[in-house]
Point group: C2
Chain length 226, copies 2
Amino acid sequence: MKAPQANKNVTQVPLSDRIYQSLKWSLIIGEYFPGSDLSIRSVAMKMGTSTMPVREALTRLASERLLQSSVKRSYKVAELDPKRVADQFFLRARLEGIATLLAVPNMTPSQIDELEALANMMERDIETGSNENYIVRNYNFHFSIYAASQNEELFWSIERLWAQTGPFLTQAVRSQTMPDEWRILHTNIAKAIRSRNAELAAQLIEKDISWGVSTFESFTSSAQSK
Amino acid sequence: MKAPQANKNVTQVPLSDRIYQSLKWSLIIGEYFPGSDLSIRSVAMKMGTSTMPVREALTRLASERLLQSSVKRSYKVAELDPKRVADQFFLRARLEGIATLLAVPNMTPSQIDELEALANMMERDIETGSNENYIVRNYNFHFSIYAASQNEELFWSIERLWAQTGPFLTQAVRSQTMPDEWRILHTNIAKAIRSRNAELAAQLIEKDISWGVSTFESFTSSAQSK
DNA sequence: ACTAATTTACTGTGATCACAGATATTGACC
DNA sequence: GGTCAATATCTGTGATCACAGTAAATTAGT
């Protein structure tokens, strides 16, 4: 008889997967900037692994259009292309609106409680200027809604778009104070969901994204004039 | 002085890319069925290459959710999961509707001519029962519209969804005759675009997809009763 | 000191190998 | 004949190597 061998291989999840997830998350929270180079060997060195799993991770990210890859040049985060970024935010607005419409009737009261708690903490994050916390809570806020849409493909598509826009958006968020009228936006979204007003909730979600676009645009215009 | 060396390396496009494109296209046109196994070594043997480029291609396809990959089991086309497929078609309807709305004002008369020509040939394909031709022309018809949306991210997302639903849909198309009322649908879509009626065009596109869903459902119900 | 050619360093790509987990096959035993 | 264990086969995974492009640094020539 063979014992289950509890912790023979702790992982069971491939190294390439973990590297992929780690890099994707870094993109989402804006740890990489437009134009950043990510070569296989340099990342492998940083991760302390061989090139192989990094190579798979970067291949995957490039295939999902989260990184650019030229013929024999280093992988890199896409440079800022206004048209392309506008297309991405347009898609985000549509998909996240759709996800919200689907999600509202599905969310349980306790889930909405967590949403409001997050919204409160996010307001406090803005006041205290802790942008790092805000970014993570903002992710959790939005994606707990999108998860409630119970459409995995939709969820995945939106997450992919966040990873694409992350390098542009977060940089803008970090370098800018937030307009007052937007501070209570997430609280209002939670309220709309609690009252089961799906249309309003979706509308506010899209407004949130349009805020992202506007800060992004002000950021790029100030960058152009440097 | 160095001559340009015209055809030193004809390719300049990596092997892994070509294999990836080839497999993706095979998925779109329904050459693989749900549950089909695609192991690295077997595909490499078939392609006449080493395992390396195939490995990258399959990794990419799995990362885009076009293939399933378990821990140390073979890559495979996803089995039929009604909920999941329904989610995919729902997304297709939304995204392809959006793309059509964007595309209609952008399409040139000559592009619309080509659309009508395709629609005519597709009607003939149905009459002569040449499903292979129909499938390819259907792809060209739809994606020349989506290309006119001039939103690359949207185009890519839709193409990805086609690769996901291809194994389910095409199998249904192949094994079934088409209802009369749908034969002239693509011609009507072209007409709507020519008259710049974006709303109608989008509506008809979504109707086309809902036809796909219905044939898919009739196919699965007949498969369940086997 | 400046330009052009050469060299060096760095990049992804394809191939090959060793290994361990998972499945299917075979075998032995009752 | 049926059940369970041993074995053989097939799977993805990680590592390493050689190679050919690309870009940066250096050197040579004026």
